[in-house]
């Protein structure tokens, strides 16, 4: 039941967004929502570290069950609440394989766009940023996005990332895409399928319910204009 579920999350964390989207899609909107503020170091409190020794978000609790890896949370929810809400992992073998493949494959976006690029902006002062290095990183991001653009193009206009239905693969992809766009990535022109996919999913109820509060009414840093 939703009331037995607590989710600790941070505004702007794509991993937290995945967990929130899954909860919404499985009809569990009534979960207890606990926002963690990084500025106040709440993620390093003794109480929080007992739940998540890594001091990261999200942290998910369902009764005595605690799960912290975002994809593990999504898989757990899909299995435990199989009969309700949206079917996030299809039963048919070929479809299931594609959904699982794309879901895990999104790690590539994490490493190339977030770890290799966004993190560089966070940790390097503007005056110390190397133009040539940035372009190298931007190129890697462009190439990675081109792969996902290709996947969408192959599925056909108006489709989701793994076919005609919304699945777990969209839950793992969309938060990354939305965060990159927030940080200045421009999709129009070069990535038309990703652009319309982004526009479409932004309006989905589970996405709206999971939208980072501090994004509302503000613009993000233009760091990824360079991509």
């Amino acid at each position: 039941m939703a009331s037995d579920i607590t989710l600790y999350w941070g505004s702007g964390s794509p991993f937290a967004m995945r967990a929130m989207m899954s909860l919404e899609e499985k009809g569990l909107s009534g979960y207890t929502s606990k926002q963690i503020t990084f500025d106040k170091n709440e993620h390093k409190s003794d109480e929080y570290l007992k739940l998540n020794p890594r001091g990261q978000v999200p942290t998910f609790k369902h009764g005595d069950v605690i799960v912290n890896e975002s994809l593990a949370i999504c898989l757990y929810l899909e299995r435990t609440f199989k009969g309700q809400g949206t079917t996030l992992i299809p039963d048919e073998a070929g479809q299931q394989a594609l959904v699982l493949q794309r879901a895990v494959e999104s790690d590539n976006i994490q490493s190339k766009a977030f770890v290799n690029m966004v993190y560089y902006f966070f940790t390097t002062k503007a005056e110390d940023r190397d133009e040539a290095l940035l372009e190298e990183k931007a190129k890697a991001v462009r190439e990675e996005l081109q792969i996902w653009e290709g996947y969408l193009a192959k599925q056909g206009d108006g489709s989701y990332i793994a076919g005609k239905d919304f699945t777990l693969a969209d839950i793992t992809l969309f938060p990354f895409l939305a965060t990159l766009v927030r940080m200045g990535l421009r999709l129009e022109g070069r990535f038309p399928h990703l652009a319309s996919y982004h526009e479409k999913l932004k309006e989905r109820p589970s996405v709206k319910a999971s939208w980072p509060p501090h994004w509302k009414g503000t613009t993000g840093p233009g760091w990824l204009n360079v991509v």
């Binding site: 605690i66 394989a97 895990v104």
Partner: protein, 226 residues
């Protein structure tokens, strides 16, 4: 059926080993396995690209279905062959949650060991290597191993999640094995990890998936100073 499954893999990769172990555990030892040579660019060959357009290992095909990311492949295999071989995912929801958690959490090991230390050492000329940077990365890896030592301490049995060998071990063990291969000293600081390693490496699926070059070539000492 095993004969419908093709797996292309490279030498000594953790992700490839995960899939091989999974295939063995599910009673699919008869799969078509092909060890390819990355040095000869075989990972970019037509036959691999047909299955994995990224030209990476592992590349797995079951009939018409391709699944290349190791954890996706393992989840797929456990489900497609649910009724045969070892049960790698328990039915009990709480137990299942723990298996999923540890399965994905294991990737922290490759991030901290490889992205943090190994690739840096291999790709940066010694005269440009920053010792302070490496020291921090070693500390991060030690902290990471501390988490896993703790997980084993809490486990109510010999495996990561307790009594049974599960997808958590399929995901984690190959990563640990690579650390040992790279000469990371486990025994003194991480006695539980050390005995887990010694015990699990005797499991027949692990023995069948052991990279041949680990027995043939001397071990690089990239993590000896951790």
């Amino acid at each position: 059926m095993a004969s419908n499954i093709t797996l292309y893999f490279g030498p000594g990769g953790g992700p490839s080993m995960r899939v091989q172990v999974c295939l063995e555990e599910k009673g699919l030892s008869g799969y078509n396995g092909k060890l390819l040579n990355t040095e000869k660019n075989e990972h970019k060959s037509e036959e691999v690209l047909k299955i994995n357009p990224r030209g990476q290992f592992p590349a797995m095909k079951h009939g018409d279905v391709a699944v290349n990311d190791s954890l996706a492949a393992c989840l797929y295999l456990e489900n497609a062959f649910k009724n045969q071989g070892t049960k790698l995912l328990p039915d009990n929801p709480a137990q299942q949650a723990l298996v999923f958690q540890r399965m994905f959490e294991a990737d922290n090991i490759s991030t901290k060991a490889f992205d943090g230390i190994v690739w840096y050492k291999i790709r940066t000329k010694p005269e440009y290597q920053d010792e302070a940077h490496l020291a921090k990365k070693r500390k991060d890896l030690v902290e990471e191993l501390g988490f896993w030592e703790g997980h084993l301490a809490k486990a109510e049995g010999p495996y990561l999640t307790g009594r049974d060998f599960t997808l958590a071990d399929v995901s984690f063990f190959p990563m640990l094995a690579i650390l040992v291969r790279l000469q990371l000293p486990l025994k003194e600081r991480f006695p539980r990890l050390d005995s887990y390693y010694m015990q699990v490496k005797e499991r027949s699926s692990i023995k069948s998936s052991w990279p041949p070059e680990w027995d043939a070539k001397p071990a690089p000492d990239l993590l000896k100073d951790v």
